[in-house]
Subunit: 251 residues, 8 copies
Amino acid sequence: MRSEKLIQKVLRGVRNEKIGLAKASDILKGLPSLDLEFANIDCGRYARCGFPEVIYCEGKTVGQIRRIAKEMFTNEGLLLLTRLSAPAYRSLKKTFPLLRYNKLGRVAYYTKKKPQIKNEKAVLIITGGTSDIPVAEEARATLEMMGNKVNALYDVGVAGIHRLLNRMEHFDGAGVIIVIAGMEGALASVVGGLVSKPIIAVPTSCGYGANFKGIAPLLTMLNSCAPGVAVVNIDNGFGAAYMANLINNSG
Amino acid sequence: MRSEKLIQKVLRGVRNEKIGLAKASDILKGLPSLDLEFANIDCGRYARCGFPEVIYCEGKTVGQIRRIAKEMFTNEGLLLLTRLSAPAYRSLKKTFPLLRYNKLGRVAYYTKKKPQIKNEKAVLIITGGTSDIPVAEEARATLEMMGNKVNALYDVGVAGIHRLLNRMEHFDGAGVIIVIAGMEGALASVVGGLVSKPIIAVPTSCGYGANFKGIAPLLTMLNSCAPGVAVVNIDNGFGAAYMANLINNSG
Amino acid sequence: MRSEKLIQKVLRGVRNEKIGLAKASDILKGLPSLDLEFANIDCGRYARCGFPEVIYCEGKTVGQIRRIAKEMFTNEGLLLLTRLSAPAYRSLKKTFPLLRYNKLGRVAYYTKKKPQIKNEKAVLIITGGTSDIPVAEEARATLEMMGNKVNALYDVGVAGIHRLLNRMEHFDGAGVIIVIAGMEGALASVVGGLVSKPIIAVPTSCGYGANFKGIAPLLTMLNSCAPGVAVVNIDNGFGAAYMANLINNSG
Amino acid sequence: MRSEKLIQKVLRGVRNEKIGLAKASDILKGLPSLDLEFANIDCGRYARCGFPEVIYCEGKTVGQIRRIAKEMFTNEGLLLLTRLSAPAYRSLKKTFPLLRYNKLGRVAYYTKKKPQIKNEKAVLIITGGTSDIPVAEEARATLEMMGNKVNALYDVGVAGIHRLLNRMEHFDGAGVIIVIAGMEGALASVVGGLVSKPIIAVPTSCGYGANFKGIAPLLTMLNSCAPGVAVVNIDNGFGAAYMANLINNSG
Amino acid sequence: MRSEKLIQKVLRGVRNEKIGLAKASDILKGLPSLDLEFANIDCGRYARCGFPEVIYCEGKTVGQIRRIAKEMFTNEGLLLLTRLSAPAYRSLKKTFPLLRYNKLGRVAYYTKKKPQIKNEKAVLIITGGTSDIPVAEEARATLEMMGNKVNALYDVGVAGIHRLLNRMEHFDGAGVIIVIAGMEGALASVVGGLVSKPIIAVPTSCGYGANFKGIAPLLTMLNSCAPGVAVVNIDNGFGAAYMANLINNSG
Amino acid sequence: MRSEKLIQKVLRGVRNEKIGLAKASDILKGLPSLDLEFANIDCGRYARCGFPEVIYCEGKTVGQIRRIAKEMFTNEGLLLLTRLSAPAYRSLKKTFPLLRYNKLGRVAYYTKKKPQIKNEKAVLIITGGTSDIPVAEEARATLEMMGNKVNALYDVGVAGIHRLLNRMEHFDGAGVIIVIAGMEGALASVVGGLVSKPIIAVPTSCGYGANFKGIAPLLTMLNSCAPGVAVVNIDNGFGAAYMANLINNSG
Amino acid sequence: MRSEKLIQKVLRGVRNEKIGLAKASDILKGLPSLDLEFANIDCGRYARCGFPEVIYCEGKTVGQIRRIAKEMFTNEGLLLLTRLSAPAYRSLKKTFPLLRYNKLGRVAYYTKKKPQIKNEKAVLIITGGTSDIPVAEEARATLEMMGNKVNALYDVGVAGIHRLLNRMEHFDGAGVIIVIAGMEGALASVVGGLVSKPIIAVPTSCGYGANFKGIAPLLTMLNSCAPGVAVVNIDNGFGAAYMANLINNSG
Amino acid sequence: MRSEKLIQKVLRGVRNEKIGLAKASDILKGLPSLDLEFANIDCGRYARCGFPEVIYCEGKTVGQIRRIAKEMFTNEGLLLLTRLSAPAYRSLKKTFPLLRYNKLGRVAYYTKKKPQIKNEKAVLIITGGTSDIPVAEEARATLEMMGNKVNALYDVGVAGIHRLLNRMEHFDGAGVIIVIAGMEGALASVVGGLVSKPIIAVPTSCGYGANFKGIAPLLTMLNSCAPGVAVVNIDNGFGAAYMANLINNSG
């Protein structure tokens, strides 16, 4: 039985007082995980965390991805695949003809129902440079699928800070801001000093030499002299989006 | 003139249509900073970021702290001092008799008006061990002063994970969760897999050997296999609280 | 003369009191190493350590591997080759038609006699994710060849910890547990807090960004707040299996 | 009610078939943790892991230690305190007159019943130098309290390897070997090549310059070219002993 | 013979054509160094590099400093002592009554003739915070002694960037800018994007946790996305000043 | 409207007193940035920093580079492209037939008017070895395009220091020196002890083993015992040239 | 004029008292370096250091190598090329038909006169494993060309230390020992404790995981608890040989 | 029986053909180590390595040092104690009235017979700065006790390289050179390019900021572009001296 339907059945049972609260909770939390040969799908994630498991495709064969995706879609009615290569997408498209793909962000998704915008406030995504855009697009696709308005300001790094200052009106409608920057990553501190919104900072591995594949902006963002900045892993656009969605819809 | 009063005057001018919106914004954003001999107080922080500048006391003399505090209090009507030693607190107490001190968290604060709880949802603070409590108390004092309900679960690390599982009802009333852990910092991932709330993770420098003064839990938290976790600097209880307040009151 | 036969001869001599204990020990420990052009095979390893030398294939040509394997097999009657590529395996198969290959774990082995299960207790292998399976299979093949029962729980990481908690009955029959995890590696601490069995933890290089090719889970596991956890090198499935076998059969 | 007595009661219930197995297990695993103001004592550790929680004293005041110790002793009937300073020991001695102290290892312990030797096989502790002895003594005291025979070979590092080779008879009676070394930590590899016993390696922070407070021997031990070696945290004598006890008594 | 007088004599010889150019150069470059018991004073530094050797006092006794200072002063007619503690200064003051001391910067200096301002353009020193001021004062004292105008903007970090933007007129009169910042060090990139002047960036060890004693701002500054920024060692106010003086007077 | 023409118009307006100074400055600093789909060209860089934005080509497609280059050239009348591969250059050449390419330095540039030498003093570029030449050529091309005389001494590292000492006459005509070295990077300290000119040091990733891709010479140069040395990022020939140009033309 | 002939002419001049000692020394030390387009050959190296410059081929084109080699051979009458690929060797062979190549060590050399053994004592090269042999062969070829007897013990690492102990007679005839090891590098300490000969230790990048491309054995060797061990760069077989030759022929 | 006398007896036995060579070797190598409570003195070190064990005093109590020293002196007739504090020296002096102490180098030594100079060639010790002298004196005292001539050039770092070039005649009489430098450690490369003698390089922890307690000069020395340089641990003056003595007396 599919988890969505089970959940509805349980909830109806609760409304009708046929299922006690404690028991309902037990059922929901105890949703059996699905044991494939090589993966153990967490079917209770939706009940527990509000969003089903996401398929991280790096290091999996197309065959493995397809098999996990089938089970996930059967159970949850929606799919989110990250770090998916274009050839793998084209192959999966045959099984899921409606699967959509964000090529720059290497994210594919498919939902039975069109995502509903849950909040008038947007998530604003800002990048320091052009090379940070793939990480930004991974975040954008994830956020849109989760039902968020998304605005973006790309390539507005501190070397030409007026590009940012001239566009400060974009800050007003935002509930959360995601700042994505490589090289030295100073953009997060600067934005943090200008607004009173929670900022998720994503260091990227763009840069060379003493950038050390993202360590430099990672340290910069962790040490931000402006408060209101929290950091996710290097190049982790999905993680920033997931966190931003939790915040934007926590009200 | 004090910034709070100025702000009110400007806002009244706006309501009466005596001050245009653009001009009002300019005034508010252009609040002059106050130039002491050794510090340059950012008087526009409240207007821009919703909270006045905080005084980080490490490396400042009691004389410097007192002088900055006087100016801040005159302008903003509230004070928050972090990393304040007990002797320095006792000395400042003579100038600010109502200053309150959280000894474990080494935080002092004073507000003219009692902070109003702005949100029914609490911020839940969880620590892995007993040694993480000072960082947790720094966060708690900051949050309370900013008008948040705070709940705490101390010493519930993963070595005895039932201590956490038995108290999962605390998760329900929380709008944000702060997870504070040293040693290997695994607690953030575990909590991240159990709830659908934004989690702010704080690595601490508690531990020895390969803990490397907090690097081990920092890396653990950045790599959390559960999404919905963002990280602040090592031992940065204040930073976690500031971020949590922004999130909790962003609705 | 082959080391196995020599060992038997020496042991018979000891039983018949034809060889003194001291002398027997000297012979066994002094087994000459075999000097090939490019390798110096340690023929006394079996006598000294209970298992013959293992052939680590990375960086060796198929020709070198074949030559060492021939000598080893002639002397010891069994073969274990780790980090062996599939093409190299296919080539060796011509020389050793009965050689078996674990493709995921990249391990090949061949024993004259089928390995005898020496202990009713199993070794339980647990992985955090799907990408950790190759390391787990390297461990599994090594353990089976050494005569251990092996059970496995794959993809039960802490992001969905109920997948682990639901399967705790697997812990009961295990004498030793191997925990294999990449990303942040929190699984070892969690398991360590749940059981009273020795745990061998293997960090893997699966992950990205601040995972730093396995440094993050390595530090996590070394700092485990739960005791009863010891760590081997990153991705070292063979090393974990070797250690687990020593423990499982030490009774 | 004390956990030991509860356990006996539950076990009698099981024997009399008054308590089902599943329920008994639930009771044992669900032993409530004890919530002090600053600590959350894990009272189920004995049932779950075979040994009660250990009190790590670094960073705790004597008052905190005493309060935790009282609760622990009341519940479990035994006490193990690690990283305990001599003055703190003298103060605690007034409350627990029978508390014994290993000064070098900074470990104190007290058991109602004298520990029973559970296994004829000893744990052999080897150190590279004189400066590694405090870590060794932390391990020795822990092991003795847990009911193990302990033998020791101190200061037999590889700079004079005959000191080790001359004493190889000590290896024979050992079920597990703990190798403790600072500087470059080569001793673990050398011992690993000589015996067929599980080896727990403990890097120490003894050394200077490029020793980097234990990083050098830590890396050496993780990369040991001899298999059968697993590693615990730098200077973690207690952790090595805990693991060795699990192994020695796992048969 | 004192190096200054020797230099004048040589130069007169050149003017009178009594000393050939090549020989004069040889004499000047070959000025004998002065061999004390524990130091080897480089008496040719003035001729070669335009400024005599500077006495770095950390790790030297007051006796050693005094002896080197006497020789230096006799030869060069000026003295610059860096990292000089206040007690050492008070002791040296007895020997050099006119020695001046910058207490915050821990720099002492004495010149026979008052330094002449060599250039109308000032060196502008900017710090991110109050804790960076000691490094700034080390730079300021060095620059003034070398004959530069110095302006300073302290505590104008990016958390309140308007403090900097409001004072941009200070940039106009500057020939070189020194940017000193701890925490994340983003200030250098921001200034680099606003002006067309050479910027010397000095990371400071102010900060905590992932600041790693200045590594975070060091990496930030090396990776500055704005060009025109070069970096000196952590906390090296003297080095920045020396470089700035070379640039300011290179025209 | 092109930024150059706008600037001229504004300046004429200032001369004719038709535009006030404040307003002129506002116009110049507020030059709108140009928003392409994937980049946000900073059109005010020339007015603010004296040189237009430079196109860093690594990680951009030829299509993106061409589009940015067209806009830049239309606005600024000059082009500088760094880290440009030879195939990308050949493709761009079709659009910009006069584009010149420095193959070793992977730099292309095109200026409507031939660069005017602005200063009689040259920039001297010194490399330690042959492998450092690509970085040196990146610097040389940048400097020449910016209107500087350039001299070069290649392969004069400290292993044969007479190669440097024999050519010290090259130092005399230089206003700034760029020292480029890999391996251990000692050349910067040696040159710093010989001259009184500002030195920009560039560590390169040439070397192996403990060179760690440029970390060794980076640390060497930051710790230079000779003052007057400031450092840019590893392999950053462009950055060194940009800084050297600012210094050379700051008089 | 070729440096060898010049040297002979100078020496004859000295013998005939036609050239004073000081002048002779000046000439020899001042041998002009040879300025190619891309390299600056140090022709005085032989006079100064006893061996001409060696051509490190990594990162040079075959054309560059050939041109440098021609000049070197014309001047010095001998050639040593390290890190030379097999294809590059085959191409150079057409120009230098007598060039010999050590394929494993990737070293080519050619001397007009056959190297004379200068010392009865050999240099003994020991490796821990088979994968260390390329580094060992680089050392062997270098040593032989410089006129040293070379003995070798390959694959005698500490996992089977009897392989080393059984061959200790090889130590007797050696004047210097080169120990080459990857993984954990413990072999250097063990050999250092067994002999009274100078030991040059070479860490190699052979290993995986926490070997960190040679950092683990590098730290091991620097921290050797046995004295008499000095270390060269990771994988630097040539450097070890050069040092060993200096020592072996220093008597 | 004392090892020295035993050695003589064995050697006489060999001369008289009363003891076979193999047996003599066995006796000499098998000299029993002396088992104190806390140390295991290696009495065969003299026979095996040509010098008795040295007492490293850091981390030992005066009582432990005294007890080891007594045994050592009784057996070997000579004593070398490194890292010995002045108070500990004064206390030991009562037991060994003839013990001599090098205060700067913190080395004490005592030999029954005055050390004989074994070689006309000196060991030359060079330091970069004044702060490196304690490490140099540790080396000097060790070398003198082992019977070497020692020359020293202190404070001749590359910031004033003529101080070194002016003293190159000191190089001629040296058999080995020890180069000791902190900060960036460039001195080793420079000396390596000037002479044909083996160089032992010692990085020191003198410096600040990016010196990282000696890592900077350590990397510099390992990457030396001049061959003929091998490196010992940071601040390890004794290790350098031990190695230099082996080389100087290896002829």
